[in-house]
Symmetry: C2
Amino acid sequence: MELAPPLPRTSPLHDFLAPGSIAIIGASTDPTKRGYKAMVGLIKDGYPGAIYPINPKVDNVLGVRTYATLDDIPGPVDLALICTPAATVPGLVADCGRKGVKGAAILASGFRETGPAGARLEQQVLAAAREGGVRLIGPNTSGMFNLHKKVNLLALANVKPGNIGFISQSGNMLLSLVLEAEHNGHVGFSTYVGPGNQTDIGFNDYLRYLGEDPDTRVATFYVEGFRDGQRFLHNAREITAVKPVVVYKSGATEQGKKAASSHTGALAGSYAMTVDLLRQVGVSVVQHSNEILPVAEGLGLLQHAPGKRVAVVSDGGGQATIASDRIIEAGLELAELGEATKKRLGAILLPQASPVNPVDVAGSSDANPALLADCLAIVADDDNVDAVFLVGMFGGYHIRFAEDLLGGEMRGAESMIELARRIDKPVVVYSLYAPVKPPALRRLHEAGLPVYTSIEYAVRVLAALGERGVYLQDAANQAPLPAMMPNDATLAIFAAAQAEARNLFEFEAKTLLRAHGVDVPAEALVRNVDELDEVAARFGDRPLVMKVVSKDILHKSDAGGVKLNLHGRAALREAFDQIIGSCHAYKPAADIKGVLITPMARKGIEVIIGVSRDPIFGPVLMFGLGGIFVEILEDVAFRAIPLSRYAARSMVEQIRARRILQGARGEAAVDKEALVDLLLKVSSIVAAYPQLAELDLNPVILYEDGYAIVDARVIVNQTVLNPKDEA
Amino acid sequence: MELAPPLPRTSPLHDFLAPGSIAIIGASTDPTKRGYKAMVGLIKDGYPGAIYPINPKVDNVLGVRTYATLDDIPGPVDLALICTPAATVPGLVADCGRKGVKGAAILASGFRETGPAGARLEQQVLAAAREGGVRLIGPNTSGMFNLHKKVNLLALANVKPGNIGFISQSGNMLLSLVLEAEHNGHVGFSTYVGPGNQTDIGFNDYLRYLGEDPDTRVATFYVEGFRDGQRFLHNAREITAVKPVVVYKSGATEQGKKAASSHTGALAGSYAMTVDLLRQVGVSVVQHSNEILPVAEGLGLLQHAPGKRVAVVSDGGGQATIASDRIIEAGLELAELGEATKKRLGAILLPQASPVNPVDVAGSSDANPALLADCLAIVADDDNVDAVFLVGMFGGYHIRFAEDLLGGEMRGAESMIELARRIDKPVVVYSLYAPVKPPALRRLHEAGLPVYTSIEYAVRVLAALGERGVYLQDAANQAPLPAMMPNDATLAIFAAAQAEARNLFEFEAKTLLRAHGVDVPAEALVRNVDELDEVAARFGDRPLVMKVVSKDILHKSDAGGVKLNLHGRAALREAFDQIIGSCHAYKPAADIKGVLITPMARKGIEVIIGVSRDPIFGPVLMFGLGGIFVEILEDVAFRAIPLSRYAARSMVEQIRARRILQGARGEAAVDKEALVDLLLKVSSIVAAYPQLAELDLNPVILYEDGYAIVDARVIVNQTVLNPKDEA
């Protein structure tokens, strides 16, 4: 699999997230104060750069000479940690600007989150920063560290340098991961930042920094709400091509969202939509908080699998079954082992063992645990296998059976390490002895092979590796399709609608689609009764539909404005008179443009294609089956516009009701490529017309060959000009 | 909540699972042998009863005098552990019988699981056991322990006596839980048994034993396949009324099931059905293997909550949100706090704190962690709250902020313990410091308050407590409804069908239903054309349906045997002739009884009610919405027959499409009580007629008032006699 080359260093954040010198403004001799703890963190970890405590009242903090003000510092300062109360911050940031400080991290709360006065104070801070060319972390940040540079401003004990970069809107979540990592004993971090109020630097900047940071092999985010989600998606697409990006988004439920927004005041879109859009750009979305660390660890170490076919090697049938259950539930596959592989396994296993996947060695390894490594090597050599998963009690054989098995375990561990280096497929280990950290498991961990304490965590990691692999592998189809060129006729349609402050008529929406190559059924706009005969002749003997055209009639059926299944001239004339009469009666002042006549669509599978503009993520396309599927089951998929071909295909595969499209219940499968093309055309059309606020194709009827767009609605943004007018 | 009184001691298993004396047949001096390890386990744990090692070749094992044979033992023997190879077992079990041994645990494999020869050997063992009055654990058992009686035949180190009884078809799963428990430091076990091949004693016997065992407060099962599931449900219903029963059923997916059955050879029904049936009798089903121990621990300590409304107290907004998300996803509710509660909270919290649920104390506890206990006490006093959940860093305040906060944490822990004793609502704690086991958390644990290492685990426990509470609370509606009395006319219908070796005709199935009080639309069986006029007159001007009646025509529509929407005499006559003609043409030899005429059913919501007899669980009723809901989405609920009113109600509430029954999309809600009554009647009818093999009401159309049964099909079991004939 070809990964994109490492990203060049363009982010200004490197200058102060990997600082050569640090000032602690509000350095303190009180051990309970952050201005003391930060000093402890720097000194204990052996920060090699210059440390400048600022405190006019004492001459040293922890033996380091203090300065009364920033101006007194002899050398340059890259990063200032501001530990003083909110009211002092605007002045101090101005000081930073004068001193040429590159970045300031502001711990104080008491800004926007407290109300209008705090918001004004925050604006002053931002103004001072812009004026002085200082970049801001926070305010209201929980702090930061960069452990590879020995910058431990949080003074956390027992946290190791490692490859997980972490940005978290919850300080408790950082603490939780650090404690889990300490407990695990092997997982470490590169850079952590609490973004706080994101007054200046936001998620998108941190994402780029972590993407560029060579010490970070997995960029991990705990997000309560995105601000500029569209930019995040854009950056993430670039960075996931190089390294894994993990996101836990809180507010999965309506109630959870309420709790999140009372906390941060950030806007939050629909959770399901957010997850779909993040996955669209290759982000690994974690849905349980206790899976953040295992998944980040696994992706950091193993990066990706070539695909989703997992081979399980187990020394117990029960756990082989559990592993199989979880693998299938996670959307992975149990690899089908080739005949040669089964033969090779059969040659080293006892007769009662099962050489099919999941491979249950059934006692074959009891006296020789290194045999498990041999089994892993055999299944890893199989072309049908994308990842290998060891399940059982490896590492604990010498505890459970006999001490002299330790040698075999250590040999097995070395073989597994060698295997992992030799092959381009991840080796993932679950051991029920993981909690007691026996020597063979410690050795695996040290060599960069993760060992998990539950089958469930291990499978989450395998799923993340496989999903990432599938995403990367189809890079050829991952490029978002470009916007179409708007054409003059359709620009004129929008202009006319804006001039009349109305939305597009159905026939105009269909004209727009047709102008850009969408297959729209023939139709006729009829303004008076005399045109009906010509229309009747044109459509031949197909049954027809007639619908009123009026900007003043929104609910056509309620107004008696729709007639179905019309045959012949007489029926058309009668329907025309009835519609006009009924609509005038319904709304005497209605401006009726005429009626639209189209052939009735054949029966098929009804789907909905909708587009709206999300305030956070920009234009988003929704796809789902019609009726109850959308309204009751909420069985829909979302993708950000512009879509790639991969995105369009994957959204069709994603819905639960996909079996209906495949031809369930004795019906033929629908024309999936035509559907994918339609989704892509809609995406490219929407990208071309900023005047288009919303679009609804409901229903589109899918057939074995092609589709019919039965109704089309376009809501116009009255305030956006035609791009040509703007130019 | 009234719990049923403790069960009286009726199980014979107490005699040897809490043995007064133990013989180790095949006791060994080789430290790698089970016959050595069992001796170590008994001696190390200080087993107070008599230990008799049997080994004719040495005079002692670990200093305990050996005997050459069982017969040489001077005193009685309650339990024999047989550690010798399979071939020796029949003779040894016969020895046990002569000696009066009450139970024998057989470790050897090499029986049924290896093929016909092994199966014959197993039959010999069983015959010897029956002959001698010996009960058998295994063969192929992973072993057993009863830690309260110091019977540790597995010689597991570091496993504590506790309240979790565990029966596991996977020895690795026991080992995994024991290692997790060791790591946790507080969780312990009562009795463990590996049931092995269940040749004699099976799950149902172990369930009863654990139900009666006073040392067991939660009966926990890892099951690959049930044999007599009907009996398990029956026993479980009785035991869940007294104490929690936890089941993890492996084989959740088709592939997982394959792995499970290659392991045990046990039959396994549909996983979704098994889960529904277990929940029906109050079992707490766990779906992830890493949740078995947390849930068993929580249920063992806390037993149940009065309901599902949880109040969260948190010292961080982020984790409050995560907790809220998980609570809603788990089907629990965020309790709505009363005004008085909010006022009391407001009085002790800082202004920036949020006194609504989830309660985010927002720094109020930073200098006084005991305040969290006060908050818990306040929300626990609220009548709208069924359980309280502390989320955050309690226990770690003295680590994070200042050492002198330890006193406040210890005071807080004491208050929480006192609160838990005072109220009848569970107190569940998640702490991000749980992995480092600080003093306040150790204190909580010692006092029987569980502390979880992840929000996800804690919420699984809250869900199990709440579901159990709701189940127990509706005890009045939990009694399965009795079978109806079969009546002579319907017995005659079955007898006639059996005499002709056919299934019931639709009109017979409907007659059966009508005879037992089910509301079935009027219908007429017409044998010749002359009867049509009278029928037409009887049904007035309602549109009618005509369907052929013939045991030889299964697919009526294919044969042209169905005519819809018939108006008037002429139409009836024409339809009659067409149906008879078409069916004769379709199958010239068909025996045509006539046609069935009924009024067309009005439109409404189509549902399916089906009954089949599961080989493991007996008669099972399935309910779901019609069409794609059953066929594509598999959105159905199962309940074992006979149903209780609670079961019938809960299955209607369980389906994902329940909103459609509630009147989505502008339609009126259906008559749910009529539906529940129909489900209960079907249950009581099926229970009355063992001759009924399958029943299908498809569709039943539900209305705002009542329902219409449009089609009814009954498959007859040709080998079951009428109960009256048998008597």
